[in-house]
């Protein structure tokens, strides 16, 4: 090629079984030069990265085969067929070539040049497996590159090969020859063929003894120790995220935004009109600030989850929790997102991405808002303190329990209705334990944080402005909240709450603003009831209407941060469904609680 002709962009598809180090390699090759999105129409993550201006790498989902009907497989197949793929980078676990080469055999049918990347050759060596790379390359008719992705070994060589663009030339002429003879009639036949090849290029020098994985499993999935350890780990993650690292950093950031940044901007803007200042300080900084402070929490959580995921323990969590969580139609892995949601639904929702099947991801995302998050606690405490003095703990505990019970029943309902046909068989590979790579952890964590800030941030930015406008204006201009548009809306919707026992425009407005963030409910009540809530609330609520109100707060549409995150991860349609069904459900349960409670009181 002459220099004057600009080179065409080469698309390489990175594909391989789960747990073979695919993501690690992708990160090594592309660094932070990545773009994360969704495959059209599904909730499967699509990652693209660039080695340089000419080579794009698309990270396909981890799959074992091309034809067992999962979404991940369909995506991969159609991408290889229609995505103008120039090169397949097939990463395989060198210590388990038998199973890994099954996918390779299917990949050969696409008539695209393949580079077979043998990862973890060090593990294979430790297991006493010797591989003749040249022979393997010859027999499979693909280029073979041995690497150790976790240590970065061999990756530079792979990169060099890619940059020199030699594959498209090397493989293209003869790729029709092997094609026809590789039409296998059954899986068994394919495996026989693989066996035939491997018997010529693998030698086992020693039978392996008890591995580290087996020793660790003796403890971690031990009959008596497994659950205490799991609970301890979940507790650790919760504390790490919400008490030790994430939340304190979030509080610092919050203090910085509210006590330093906002006042300074306030002073800077002192020459401008008051509405403009209020828009910038209360509307935009207030709204966007409330999102940014989530960032440390999200980062802290994802550091933990990435660690569990990369170490191999997450698969054991799925294994241990499956029997319990299966009852509500989910697989065991959903345990982690659900537990996290007690701290905050937003990172919980983001972690649903790590679940295997689309059905699990969607169902978990729809159920986790019922896990009562930290932001709802202040409302419970204020109400319980005002109306149920001495019984606060019981009230709060009952609400948390109610959330779980509701999630359980809604799960059963969903399982048998909208998700009935999506039932996936549960099989999960339990990979060998390994120590996660710091670089991989940091990249993955940062990736999550960045995506959250960009997508959720923009939505919240616009919603913050809208809510600010509604609560500060009416048709005659700027005004107090009790005369604003939002008060008008509150008065308009308040009849809806008559059957629930807490209809008043003040309560309606509180619930409305609570969509910004649930703890705002208390703040708004403070403003519009004006004064000491502990004294005022007993005059506007009866014990039963207070319970009904709290049940509504527990179950109704979560905050705007969750809505924005859900829109980012799952799209507008599912978000609309989630918001709507939760409103309806909250209304129904509150209705039952209020009227059932009143009836019981009347009888006794």
């Amino acid at each position: 090629m002459t220099i004057s002709v600009p080179k065409r962009m080469i698309t390489a598809a990175l594909i391989g079984n789960p747990n073979v180090g695919k993501t690690t390699l992708f990160n090594l090759l592309t660094g932070s030069n990545q773009h994360v999105g969704n495959w059209p129409g599904v909730t499967v993550e699509k990652k693209e990265g660039f080695i340089n201006d000419n080579i794009k790498i698309v990270d396909l989902p981890g799959i074992y085969a091309m034809d067992t009907y999962s979404n991940e497989e369909k995506i991969s197949k159609s991408f290889l067929e229609n995505g103008n793929v120039d090169l397949i980078l097939n990463i395989v676990d060198a210590s388990n070539l038998h199973r890994n080469l099954y996918l390779t055999m299917q990949l050969k049918e696409f008539n695209i040049p393949i580079v077979l990347i043998l990862n973890m050759v060090d593990v294979a060596e430790n297991k006493g497996i010797k591989i003749d790379y040249e022979k393997l390359s010859k027999l499979l008719d693909v280029m073979v590159v041995p690497i150790v992705a976790s240590k970065g070994k061999g990756v530079d060589k792979l990169e060099e090969l890619l940059l020199n663009d030699i594959f498209s030339k090397a493989n293209h002429d003869n790729d029709n020859q092997y094609h026809d003879e590789l039409r296998f009639k059954s899986e068994a036949e394919t495996y026989k063929y693989i066996e035939g090849i491997l018997s010529q290029c693998l030698t086992h020098t020693s039978e392996n003894t008890v591995t580290i994985t087996e020793r660790l499993d003796k403890i971690l999935i031990n009959k008596f120790l497994a659950y205490p350890i799991l609970v301890a780990i979940a507790y650790f993650i919760f504390q790490f995220t919400f008490s030790w690292v994430g939340q304190p950093l979030a509080d610092l950031l919050d203090t910085f935004v509210n006590d330093w940044f906002a006042p300074h901007v306030d002073i800077l803007l002192s020459g401008t009109s008051s509405w403009f200042k209020s828009l910038i300080v209360d509307g935009i900084i207030g709204g966007v600030g409330s999102v940014i402070v989530f960032l440390p929490v999200v980062l802290a959580l994802f550091l933990c989850i990435s660690f569990l995921e990369d170490s191999g323990y997450m698969a054991r969590v799925a294994f241990l929790m499956d029997k319990i969580i299966r009852k509500m139609g989910l697989s065991g892995k959903a345990f982690i997102p659900l537990i996290i949601s007690f701290g905050c639904n937003v990172p919980g929702l983001m972690s649903t991405r790590t679940l295997e099947s689309e059905k699990d991801r969607k169902m978990t995302a729809l159920l986790l808002p019922f896990m009562s998050c930290n932001a709802r606690l202040p409302i419970y405490l204020v109400m319980a303190g005002a109306l149920f003095r001495g019984h606060e703990a019981l009230v709060v505990a009952s609400l948390y329990a109610l959330g779980v019970v509701v999630a359980f029943f809604v799960g059963i309902l969903f399982k048998n209705t909208i998700f009935k046909k999506d039932d996936e068989p549960f099989i999960i590979e339990l990979p060998e334990y390994k120590l996660p790579e710091l670089k991989s952890l940091v990249l993955h964590t940062w990736e999550k944080g960045k995506g959250f800030l960009r997508k959720a941030g923009t939505i919240i930015f616009s919603v913050s402005i809208i809510v600010w406008l509604l609560s500060n204006f009416n048709f005659s201009g700027m005004t107090e909240i009790d005369k604003s548009f939002i008060a008008g809306i509150g008065r308009f919707i308040s009849p809806v709450f008559i059957p629930l026992g807490f209809a008043s425009w003040q309560n309606s407005v509180s619930l409305l603003t609570g969509i910004m963030a649930k703890e705002v409910v208390v703040g708004t009540m403070g403003v519009i009831y004006g004064g000491n809530l502990t004294k005022i609330l007993p005059t506007v609520f009866t014990p039963i209407s207070a319970i009904s109100f709290l049940v509504f707060v527990l179950l109704y549409t979560p905050c705007i941060s969750l809505i924005a995150t859900m829109k980012k991860e799952y799209g507008g349609k599912m978000t609309a469904f989630s918001v709507t069904y939760q409103l309806v459900l909250a209304w129904i349960v509150s209705f039952i609680v209020y009227n059932g409670g009143s009836l019981i009181l009347r009888i006794f």
């Binding site: 085969a65 388990n96 068989p425």
Partner: protein, 93 residues
């Protein structure tokens, strides 16, 4: 209902009592003779290498009794007992 497929016919013809992975105790090894039931799962298991003649070992039960861990082709797989019933085995070791 079990679909009437080739494996099943074979098993019936030989007049052997059908035994599945579900019947094995932890530590026991047997040879796979076929996979029944849901085609999605069967296809997946076959693609993973659970084909006729392959050694399968039951390693462990979950603390609550279900799922179980089986090992074949050199890797561990967690599978529910109800699905394990569909992996028919012979020659228990």
């Amino acid at each position: 209902m079990v679909p009437y497929n080739q494996e099943l016919r074979m098993i019936i013809n030989e007049g052997v009592v059908m035994m599945s992975v579900y019947d094995l105790k932890p530590g026991q090894t047997a040879l796979v003779s076929g996979i029944l039931g849901d085609e999605k799962l069967a296809k997946r298991l076959r693609a993973l290498g659970a084909n006729e003649g392959v050694k399968v070992r039951v390693k462990n039960f979950a603390p609550l009794g279900d799922p179980i861990i089986i090992n074949f082709m050199g890797f561990d797989l967690a599978i529910r007992k109800s699905d394990a019933k569909n992996i028919v085995v012979k020659d228990v070791v």
